[in-house]
Symmetry: D2
Subunit: 294 residues, 4 copies
């Protein structure tokens, strides 16, 4: 397919690479142009503006947050206006339910398609084309862009035809990851102050009831109290918990765990930890237990 790709951060660049490798014609755009040029040798065309990346059958956005997506999507030279009728915008970043709905309305009004397709997976999974893709939108659109998903992911889950539901699922997933981190933080603080060797605790928890990679990776960082370099920044963790709370407001569903964790992320920010990995949330539990180290 002939497509555009906007947003070439660690995730986006890896995803665009897989699309090129799969034989698609890809025009890339990134605010910092050098990130786009890095893909030229692999066959990408570099767009001079976001609008220039919207000339094909589809455009994918993989951007930092609501603000950036909104700035690029709406307005005179925005994505919604630049796409040809019949083309489709695939939003793959983690955005709010409200923005996803607004995008769906805007695209509908301009006779362009809109698909929400956020992903689960770290940059290494993106590089391997092993992302999990959670997609929602009109079935015909989902079928049309299926080959793109196949190039980037190991599996695509379809949530339904209302795009924002895919965003709900992504937000729910990240909220649950944050609770895993907080839970591990409290667990290791208690275990640590009680004299249980953290490596032993980690081995037991992940060797018995929690044999999932997230428990192993976050648990390992917490057991070692090693939160840098960040795989996913603490400040982004807070952003995602806020998305959960926004959805909580919108649908009027209390989320006491998310609220609790929000405040702990804020306390972590105020302690100067915004650049840490979000598993560094666990440090607050050792602070509060009065133990600097296990």
């Amino acid at each position: 397919m002939n497509i555009g790709f906007i947003g070439l951060g660690n995730m986006g660049q890896a995803m665009a690479r897989k699309l090129i490798a799969a034989g698609h014609t890809v025009t890339v755009y990134n605010r910092t142009r050098s990130r786009a040029e890095e893909l030229q040798s692999e066959g990408a065309t570099v767009a001079g503006s976001p609008a220039d990346a919207c000339r094909g059958e589809a455009v994918i956005t993989m951007l930092a947050d609501d603000r950036v997506v909104a700035a690029l999507a709406f307005g005179a030279k925005g994505i919604a206006t630049s796409l040809k009728p019949g083309s489709v915008h695939i939003s793959m970043s983690t955005i709010s339910v409200g923005l996803s709905r607004r995008l769906a309305e805007t695209h509908s009004a301009s006779s362009t398609g809109f698909v929400a397709a956020p992903v689960f997976g770290r940059p290494s999974a993106a590089e391997a084309g092993q992302l999990f893709i959670v997609a929602a939108g009109e079935q015909t659109l989902l079928e049309r862009v299926g080959p793109l998903f196949e190039a980037m992911g190991q599996k695509t889950f379809v949530v339904g035809d209302e795009p924002s539901k895919a965003n709900v699922v992504k937000i729910v997933g990240n909220f649950m990851l944050a609770t895993v981190i907080e839970s591990l933080g409290e667990a290791f603080a208690l275990g640590g102050k009680a004299g249980v060797e953290p490596g032993t605790l980690l081995e037991i928890l992940t060797g018995t009831i929690f044999p999932a990679p997230v428990f192993k990776s976050y648990g390992s960082m917490i057991a070692q109290q090693k939160f840098e370099p960040a795989g996913f920044k603490l400040s982004l963790g807070l952003k995602d918990v806020k998305l959960a709370l926004e959805a909580s407001d919108l649908f009027e569903v209390p989320l006491p765990l998310a609220s609790l964790i929000r405040d702990r992320f804020i306390a972590s920010m105020s302690r100067g930890r915004r650049e840490w990995d979000w598993s560094g949330l666990a440090k607050l539990s050792t602070d509060d237990a009065g133990i600097g180290k296990f």
Copy 2:
């Protein structure tokens, strides 16, 4: 080995069976005698009193809670007094750190051994001899009772030589399971009210970031809002969260998640759900979201 086994609930009876099957000589005691007699045909000797189950090289207790263990362990005809010097008491139930320490002291004073060896696993795992055993105590004792653990479990994790540390690990594990349940409850309430089909949400969560059995089994009960019959009663869930809070008090380690969940268990009790499975904690999230059903 020639041993006693006290406490033949769903877990205890299955564990005793595996010991008999492995060739050990087992004298069993249970308050409701018929539960003990059910094991006679398999080769167990039925004891008339707890003291009668303490004549061998070791006695295992697998009882409901601190109160029951304390009632049987201390006093004139208690386990500590009835065991011969050199014999060992293996406490396999989920008890408090404080009681475990008191047991260790009492046994030390009477020159009998004490090992804490709580387990992870449901009755079905006990029946299959597939429990995970978390053991702590003097190394020579652990080695001596190793064959018993091999008969009951698939793997034994050694935490150290201070018995109560094994209890800390068990308590931490159950606390983390409770947070998984609360997290799933909030997740499905938000997803449900947002219109995401619960089966789809479950499939995505467990097919991507949470591919662990606990997420599948609890998630499935929550997705179906089917909390009876109970695998592990809600009232026992509250008991275990209280053990975590007791440890939190003892070691002065705040556990905000445990506190939050405690109150939600209590609200569930007050709504008449004490006999539900503890995953029924999730019902409170749908109550609070104003949705009777997803």
Copy 3:
């Protein structure tokens, strides 16, 4: 003074009346015009548009929320543009810190003055000219509008020269009121289920350690479980707690009590209580205690 007054709800109408009674020349505007016309016989001039209420030396806004204030303040025919240079906008409603800052900037750019002066007090206090006014802004402006505050309030507290600080104080005050309500709710639920007669509990609490009117008035509503008609709607209570959380985000100050209360307001909304008095938050505590009534 020759002033305008925009927003004639229960509070605003009573405040405008006191201004007229004090001899000021008042041009009033309200979206529902009839509310404005009710003041004509007392001497008010009815404005046909918000801009028409901005011809004098000052204009006061007393509006529902951020959205309404922003809609009237900004834009081509907004307050900022309609005021003559040298005139002053006095924002007396409960608005966010962010909006207050934006208003200050906008007015500064148009050489008009801006004062934030939110109030503490119910409609009955407004009718009696007994409001407490919390004001912030340039000292010369505060002096100039002093006579207006004297007409409406019993006392004016000056917070400083940065208008948004007055909003911080108002938001903090309302947050604390919400915690009083939640605290009373839990107190009466515990007392009630323990068999303490609610009237007795109320008498003791307010007769000993809490002899303040807010404890008496909210405590009385809670003791009687009578939450209608609303003095201040539960949905507005949630709005104000969200303002506190917005400030918490902005300044990176965790507010765990506000977070806890937010979720309980949302649960109350989902139970169909948005029109109740905000003291009706307490009903959730009796729900969670499994007691319909004390």
Copy 4:
């Protein structure tokens, strides 16, 4: 009346003094005997044992906690056994509902009377005979000991005939005081980081919606961040919150505020603040806001 008084801490000694001054014959006992001897010159008889303080018509206990009360009340030479039939035990310290019930049962079995009469008021109020007394027990008993209450307090509130209900009220009151402290702590942290001068914030809050002494006294300590010397120790504040949580367990009434505050007290303990005044709980809010000082 001819009475005994056991427990001569800051509160107890002042209360005993008022009883002597009112003309009652008072035999005093204290573990550290010198505290008792200080009252000899005023006319008290010093008892050599708790039992010796139980020879009169009534004995008052004013002790540190459940453990101490239980140690003195039960057993062969305990209060219940030492009192003559028809005499009455007046428990004035802050104890648990469970212990109060157990005392009531024990006294009933020994045909001695039991009244629970905890107090609100600091040592200075005790010295002035200005305590508030919250009493519960059989009406005839309450009437009989009325003159004692008159000597110690400014007012007696009667809760009912079941003694433990007076303890519920006291526990509820202290729980509410703890929420006031936490609420003030969060309020001053937000105000402080937002640049509102703490003295101004205090003046406004207590000059408008919170004109009660507790807001003034705790607010002043928090505004100045001066938490020593302690009027009421932080470790005792935690003890009292735990009594609320025990009652919450007993009656199955969730107390989310108490749970939240418990963890914050524990974090304060782990930071080495157990000897601070309990208003020092507020320091955690400034820690978490990343501001050492306002």
